[in-house]
Amino acid sequence: MLSATATVIKSVPKSVGALGTFVSRLNHTLPDLPYDFNALEPTISAEIMRIHYTKHHATYVNNLNIAEEKLAEAMETKNVNQVIQLQPALKFNGGGHINHSIFWQVLSPNGGGEPSGDLMEVIKRDFGSFEAMKTELSNASVAVQGSGWGWLGFNPVSKRLRVATCANQDPLQPTTGLVPLFGIDVWEHAYYLQYKNVRPDYLKAIWNVVNWDKVAQNLHDATMAC
């Protein structure tokens, strides 16, 4: 188990100032990775996991904290232009942090196989079969132009499961309203060192490490929240 070294501070005091700025800098931290870097081999190599977590995800966290600090300043000085100018950085880094935090959880060295229980029932209901869902999500993920994510999401209004894709680090829920259950990172950094340009091979392999227990938990939480 790998631990983050900074503590998470859940609430920022109203009085922004030197202390407030300092506090907001510690607002987001890299979540613990639930397994070692090599745990997902041979599906995802240790090298990819190490760089993906300690470099890419860590950078999103750092830059999110920086953007939020600037946002606090902009709000304090009522600089609406600056507030709006910060939105792309917040979406990109905040989305990156959200997406990767979900991703580590929905993968597992003990994953793979098929879902069961309510999750399986709902998948069969909304896609016809488990294989049909896999095919749709895989195809959608392969087809993402440039960088983005493929998602299995839950529509809180219709209560149905849907496959969706988002560009760059756009987070699923704020962008589409769907609650993320399972996601696949198809940025090249997620697979390139191992699979090179053959994204379809990465998509074939990733099903071996899907943490269906966690996906089922995500569905349960989403359903309860309605």
Binding site: G146, W187, Y192
Partner: protein, 262 residues
């Protein structure tokens, strides 16, 4: 016997001469044909861009990514030209990919996305390979002549231009992008730095690109992983300003070998 040897030698020289003389730069392929595009050969060996871009990357980038765009573009063009339902767009469909990307808005909806991604991918990579050359002696390279003057005029000095261009390459939200130096014909050929996402092309904005860097992760990940700034700084060593000048001049001259029927 002597005659045969002389003939052989002459034939060999002729073959060598014509091969060397007709080695097209990749960017030239975008304007002189209209179908069955081939993956252009690189003007250098796969290992020749070392140490700045590693051999493995150049190989996969060219034979994997660029080749895939070439193939898919050909398929899309074939389907489009054979589609009687969109006969009104045939004159565009039968133009070189350069013109198709300029007129992208007129591509039928059915084919637009595929042409934008794959045609764009083909053309963007053609430019990318065309502006680099091996630099084994780590020469300092700078633009000269008219282009050099125009860069100074537009950006103050070469350093400043490099800094601005680099900043664009590093500030992109998302991967899957390019940064371009182009001339804008409606501003009297003023030089502009711009960026495009995915496989979009400045041609669609009617700019005339002369320099480009590919900052998709696949362009650098094997060697640099997440360290894009290192890739960009290495890439400057490969930019060959005489080639950039050639492209600049190409835009000014007649650049179609393909002639429309009168």
């Amino acid at each position: 016997m002597a005659d045969a040897t002389i003939l052989q030698a002459w034939l060999l020289s002729f073959c060598y001469f014509t091969t060397v003389m007709t080695l097209k730069m990749p960017y030239e392929f975008i304007a002189d044909q209209t179908s069955n595009y081939v993956l252009p050969k690189l003007p250098y060996d796969y290992k020749d861009l070392e140490p700045f871009i590693d051999e493995a990357t150049v190989r996969v980038h060219h034979l994997g990514h660029h080749a895939a765009y070439t193939k898919k573009m050909n398929i899309a063009l074939e389907q489009w030209t054979a589609d009687s339902e969109v006969a009104h767009s045939m004159s565009l469909a039968q133009k070189p990919i350069l013109d198709i990307l300029i007129g992208l808005d007129d591509v039928p909806k059915k084919y637009k996305s595929s042409i934008q991604n794959n045609g764009g991918g083909y053309v963007n990579h053609n430019f990318y390979w065309s502006v680099m050359s091996p630099n084994p002696n780590l020469d300092d390279r700078e633009p000269v002549n008219q282009l050099g003057d125009d860069i100074v005029k537009a950006f103050g000095n070469f350093s400043n231009f490099k800094a601005l261009f680099t900043q664009e390459a590093l500030s992109l939200f998302g991967s899957g992008c390019y940064v371009w130096l182009s001339r804008n014909p409606i501003e009297n050929g003023k030089l502009v730095i711009s960026k495009t996402t995915n496989q979009d092309s400045p041609l669609t904005d009617e700019l005339q690109p002369i320099l480009v860097i590919d900052v998709w992760e696949h362009a650098y990940y094997i060697k640099h992983q997440n360290l894009r700034p290192k890739y960009v700084s290495d890439w400057w060593n490969l930019v060959d300003w005489s080639l950039v000048e050639e492209i600049d001049n190409w835009w000014k001259g007649p650049n179609y070998d393909y002639h429309e029927e009168l």
